[in-house]
Amino acid sequence: MSKARVATIWLDGCSGCHMSFLDMDEALLDIAEKIDLVYSPYVDIKEFPSDVDVTLVEGAVSSREDLEKIQKVRENSNLVIAFGDCAVTGNVPAMRNSFPLESVFERAYKENVTVQETVPTETVPELFEKVRPVHEVINVDLHMQGCPPPAETIKYALTEILEGRTPELTDKTRFGK
């Protein structure tokens, strides 16, 4: 049996979901038997490959870069999983949505710094007015809630998917967990 081509990616998030993934500990070895990790912050691959079976997406869509990334993910993945609350709801990154972008910049680049009080305009991607959950931008096949989703849940979900079943996640995680 050929191994499933799995990718993970992070957009606007804290990488906590990826940490939780690693929290699977020795179960990672079982998973590794079944998958090829073809793209991930865990590995050093620069370009998102084609023909990916499953992609786990951590984080919300905050910038033009996020948007381009996620569109590429969608084009090249069979199954896209919104991985954790930021991807599912916008969560903490979206807390800035109640404020105008300008005041967010003020806060981040001027009020809270001691040197170089300037809002960067070059070499950084364009920040969107509103942070959006992934499914508002592309079609998402599975939503895995949690902040972060527990390692057990990630393991269960992946195993189920690799076995060709649809995981039933509602009793295994929730918003904020």
């Binding site: 919104a82 609350d85 599912v88 709801t89 916008g90 969560n91 903490v92 979206a94 807390m95 949505n97 109640s98 404020f99 509103k130 959950p133 499914h135 508002e136 998402v140 939503h143 895995m144 809630q145 902040c147 996640l169 509602t170 009793d171 929730r174 918003f175 904020g176 967990k177």
Partner: protein
């Protein structure tokens, strides 16, 4: 009044049950362990019928009725869990989540929240509607409590417990539609309220992290609601 209290027989999800004539569908359902989700309803408070989570189908009527206020009648056939109902409940719940800023991961009531529980119970794993992200305030002027309007779902339990149980009438609703919000006195800071007795009942009945005790960190705010049925029973005995 005798005729009203006569026992009625009805079916809930095909099961034949008997009920007091003045009982509501929700009461009868709970007596018979039929789960109907509720958010604005709380035993001991005047029912409100606003959250629409407890809607049910009644044979012979194409209108969905809130079970918390709908009285049973003889021969009534109630369906509490049809696909149609499940679909609507999930979507109403999504609307609630989309309305304000419910960021569970940083909420004092994370893990002890009726809204969160209901989402899990109904299998609502994401919100299809765009989040509205309104700019809402936090009023922390009271000595012991605070209100975070970001987490409020406008169930009005605080309003009803304050007027109906405490009798202080501190809480009320200002504005209408999407701009409606709960207020203390005439929209003054809670800390300046002359009517508030600081009894804390509003905090305890609040289903989410909107009303909380100060000094609680994320996931620390656990609510105690046992006092409400207790008070109701004691007061009924007094009467």
């Amino acid at each position: 009044m005798a005729s009203r209290t006569k026992v009625k027989t009805l079916t809930i999800d095909g099961k034949r049950v008997g009920a007091r004539g003045d009982a509501t569908i929700l009461e009868v359902a709970r007596e018979h362990d039929v789960y109907i989700p509720t958010l604005c309803f709380l035993e001991g408070l005047r029912p409100n019928g606003g959250c629409r989570m407890c809607i049910v189908e009644i044979e012979g009527s194409n209108k969905l009725q809130p079970s918390c206020v709908t009285q049973v009648y003889e021969g009534m056939e109630v369906h509490t869990d049809s696909e149609r109902i499940q679909n609507y409940r999930k979507k109403i719940l999504q609307l609630i989540f989309s309305e304000r800023n419910h960021v569970c991961s940083v909420c004092v009531s994370n893990g002890n929240c009726e809204l969160q529980d209901t989402a899990q119970k109904l299998g609502m794993d994401h919100v299809e509607y765009p989040y509205l992200y309104p700019h809402m305030e936090v009023d922390a002027t009271h000595d012991r409590f605070a209100v975070d309007h970001n987490r409020c779902i406008m169930c009005t339990r605080c309003v009803r417990v304050c007027e109906g149980v405490e009798g202080a009438y501190t809480w009320d609703i200002a504005n209408r539609g999407i701009n409606a919000k709960v207020i203390t006195d005439l929209n003054q800071d809670w800390g300046d309220s002359e009517t508030c007795t600081s009894c804390g009942k509003c905090v305890q009945v609040c289903p989410t992290g909107a009303l909380f005790e100060k000094g609680k960190a994320v996931a620390e705010m656990k609510k105690t609601r046992q006092f409400l049925p207790y008070l109701s029973v004691m007061r009924e005995e007094e009467e």
